[in-house]
């Protein structure tokens, strides 16, 4: 199997951009290793729980905090839908009560890091990005430049933005333009 091609291959040219000596923001990319959606209906919690316990997680989690264990990250994105990254093929878990869907090629992650990363986010999303309102481990589903994204706070000033692959370039460019006043470093593609 070949390596999947990142939709941002053309964009991740390492270097420093924008404001002179400042290093407020670092942008990079991260491949989403695998992404599965499980979905169900009325008794979704009961049906989905075994899948999560098999991964060592206690439950479905909430709409605000991601669950992370090793390489596995779980986001509860809707009352009856969960996204899981970093798990093996879940197809076997499917049943009449539980729908499993491979979304491994739908998203790519843009990483945002640095002292000005929260300011940068405040420029592109209309949600309070202060540490008290959006701290490590928390996630948001919101829109950047009219495109639905999932933003996961992965550290004090560090975020993964899961963007749909076909919109990735346009969102990257918007982040790039917005980051210039802060002083922007682009990381080599991982």
């Amino acid at each position: 199997m070949p390596e999947p091609l990142s939709p941002l291959t053309n964009k991740t040219v390492a270097g420093h951009f924008g404001a002179g000596d400042a290093h407020g923001v670092t942008l990079g990319t991260r491949r989403v290793s695998s992404l599965w959606q499980i979905a169900g209906w009325g008794d979704f919690e009961a049906v989905a729980k075994p899948v999560l316990t098999s991964l060592g997680l206690s439950g479905l989690g909430c709409f605000r905090h991601a669950q992370q264990l090793g390489a596995v990250t779980v986001w509860r994105i809707a009352p009856d839908k969960i996204l899981l990254e970093g798990v093996r093929d879940l197809a076997a878990a499917a049943s009449e009560e539980l729908m499993v869907l491979d979304l491994g090629h739908t998203r790519t992650a843009i990483t945002v890091e640095g002292s000005a990363s929260r300011d940068l986010l405040a420029q592109v999303i209309a949600i309070d990005t202060a540490p008290a309102a959006f701290g490590p481990g928390e996630f948001l589903q919101t829109g950047i430049h009219h495109v639905g994204v999932l933003i996961h706070c992965t550290g004090p000033d560090r975020f993964d933005i899961l963007v749909p692959c076909t919109w990735a370039e346009t969102i990257w460019e918007v982040l790039f333009d917005n980051a210039l006043p802060h002083g922007l470093t682009i990381e080599e593609a991982a």
């Binding site: 070949p2 091609l5 869907l101 090629h105 990005t129 430049h145 333009d177 006043p181």
Partner: protein, 997 residues
Amino acid sequence: MKRLATGGRIDRSKPLTVSFDGKSLPALQGDTLSAAMLAGGVSLVARSFKYHRPRGVFSAGVEEPGAMVHLRDGGRHEPNARATVIEAFDGLVSSSQNAWPNLNFDVGAVNNWASPFLSAGFYYKTFIGPFKHSTKFWMMCETFIRRAAGMGRATHQTDPDTYEKRNAFFDVLVIGGGVAGLSATLSAGRMGAQVMLVEQDFDLGGAVLSDPVGSESESWVSVVRDELLAMENVRLLTRTTAIGAYDGDTYALVERVSDHLKAPQNHQVRQRYWLVHAKRVIMATGAIERPLVFGGNDKPGVMLAGAARSYLNRHAILAGQNVVVATNNNSAYEVAADLSQAGASVQLVDMRVSVADSTQAIARAAGATVVLGHGVLEAKGVKAVNRAIIAPVDVSGRAIGPAKTLKTDLIAISGGWAPAVHLWSQRFGKPVHDKASAGFVAPDNPDCPIQAAGTTAAAASLDEVLTQGFNQGVAAAQAAGFTGDAGEIPVTFDTGPFWQAGLSPAWATFNAKGKCQGKAFVDFQHDVKINDIDQAHLEGYVSVEHLKRYTTLGMATDQGKLANINALSRMAELRGLEIPEVGTTTFRPPFTPTSIGSIVGHEHGRHFRPTRLSPIHHWHVENGAKMTEAGAWMRPWYYPETGEDLRAAYVREAAHVRGHVGMVDVSTLGKIAVQGPDAAEFLNRMYVNGWKTLAVGRLRYGVMLREDGFVMDDGATARLGEHDYFMSTTTVNAAKVLALAEHLLQTAWKDLRVHVTTVTDQWAAIAVAGPKSRALLSAVSDADLSREALPSNHFTKASIGSVEVRIHRMSYSGELAYEVYTPSGFGRHVWETIHAAGKAHNLRPYGTESMGALRIEKGHVAGPELEGRTTMKDLGLEGFASSKKPFVGSVLRKRPVLEDPERPILVGLEIEGEKGAKPGSLLFPADGEAKGHGDGWVSSTTWSPALGCNIAMGLLKNGKSRKGETIRVINFVGGETLTAKVVSHHFFDPKGERQNA
């Protein structure tokens, strides 16, 4: 006018190079452009809108009606810049506007002499012209009017600067950095609330900045500022204007990040647009001084009293040597005192007969003369004031004794103060009249998220301003849930007579006949005189809105900040009503004119809208494809070979597909995973056709209607597994179909256990079409694609270039064709693998134009036919509809007009001759007059390489019975009439033998 040797809040060590109309001005750091103009002795700054009267600097703030200039040049050129709020910077270049040939000698000033004929509403009564059914006469006049109107000259050059948006969340937003705002910020901040304080000036202090340097109030400001700067929960933003208050407790601010510089530095933005969400707002926006109305009150040398004091104390500029201070209230006494102390000879003319001795003493002690019971009847002078005619007046401002003349070079006027309640009014409507202050204020309502403090709430003394601000800060923090201790109010101070205490209701002066002597302006910028209001009243334009619209009062760039209350007062007098009965207008955003760029931020040019790219996009670009927009997507339009234009390329590409094999990127199709035990029932309801019998491994074409029974979309759906379906939609309707499906499942169809999820991004899709497609794909994949193994409307899993793919047997071109679905990260790899293997099969990529040509040859409908007004019957799709089950739109599609047998239906057209028809042409019978809406229209056209002629699809009345008829195809706007034969729209291989090969 001169700069004093000492004083002012300016940095004398930092002279700046500033020019106006080529004249160098002695500007210092801390000056505004208007201060620099006054320091440089420039009194004539601009010409007025209508009469081109000379105008000077009238104010020291955002209410400035006259001193508007051209600022900067090239792409950074900005017209109508207010000299009173432009910070002087090194390299500032400005020039006058609305004057020709120059400011000093302006031909337009002839309007001033013609002004009686240009009275209110004159243009509604004239220029009608003698010609019936013609607008020519007016339009000829209009050309001249348009040239004369307008103010500054704008550029067509592109703005080189950048802008950004910033969202922010605060418990308390304090608007205005004067004493009220500072004390509110202090108390709310001390209680622990997150507070943002915004001030439009570059410095904090508000009215205190107009107090003499070294005053008690100044030291208060500096103490409070220091405490605020030390608070982590307080954010201070200067050079920031709160322009609007909107629903959801959202406030729009504009921060002028770089406007005080020649150009933005180091990648910084020019302006930043803040959207602040705040639980509570304290509106400490102060008050705007009202002018007095008398003849010639617009002349250079007439200035608001507060402005004269501001220029003196802030910029150390004495705006006149022989000063007349004219007032109807106490606030001007400090002005007279300060001007006097600075060395001017000052006569204070007060319309009131009786004024407290203590108040008079303020002016007298400084050496000013106080004349009570007098008003200024007229300001004299051509391009600058040189005399003031004053006379004793009664309580209504009417002269009751002989006039006398005072020599003067500055008339400083104060007609009281109007609280700046704009932001409250923008959101909550009309403010209420406060009799004590003769102004409009926000009504008292402790639950309102916007609370006024200080002079905005008509506070009468500085002490009251301070206390009120502090208390409002406490209340706001409490409302936001904070219970901390706000501590003590830092030192209060006694300020004596303040603001507009003792205001007289008289605000205009008239001669003994009750007329203003000379032209007496109410709206300075729009040249609305007091007698224009009188005339509007005579003609019945008496409501505030009619008055405003008939005279244009309040519609200028200051939006009536100076004019509104005086105009209302006049209308109230004329109608014999109290001011509240006349009413007021609602203030509209923005508070001050706001650059469009700041609100747009980064969403312009390429980023006006997001762009969506196929996973194979860059291959197309690298291989020379011409790209085209398809909704948000970019798609390859055609791949020109040397020297080819669009037509040559698409004809070649289409012929190549029929002759050999081609590949086209169809990744942009909408793709939706439909999962669940009730998925088949869901599809049954969504589509017109039946789905219960579709077996795993097969796919089916379906048609979807809108709720009103018109065709919405079409596409194929494959059954991947027991509960798994893979739906495809057209590129443009993908989002609409998904949203509709989600809506129905979450509302009316909760009984269905179905999930829909977009998988458009998951899959790249490549259509491989042409007689050699089977050979090619068989060679490049491991699948058995034989006719038996994979008949039409079946799919199979396969591997191409060691990538797991799905191959659908599905044809849009009418050729033997397949669609290869591959995970999108492998899209380019699979494309390139097929492309490389295709060399042996003479494979060529093709674009959307040839794809269109191929589908027209087949008579397949697409966007031009699915135009939202066509039914299944119209499009010949009726056969897909199941009669056994209801579906979305199944009832309403049968409404009588939609069943009318005469409706235009889809037909094919063979165009005679070499020239093809244009889509959008109309269809008419071969003979007769071609008028009206015709018998139909042409939807899609192409040159058909397969048929060797021009063909078209169209909708034609009674189309079914007209096969073989020759009709006219008329393109009126292209000046072309063609003839065509009506045929079946299944032009090519109607039996589908090629695709079923």
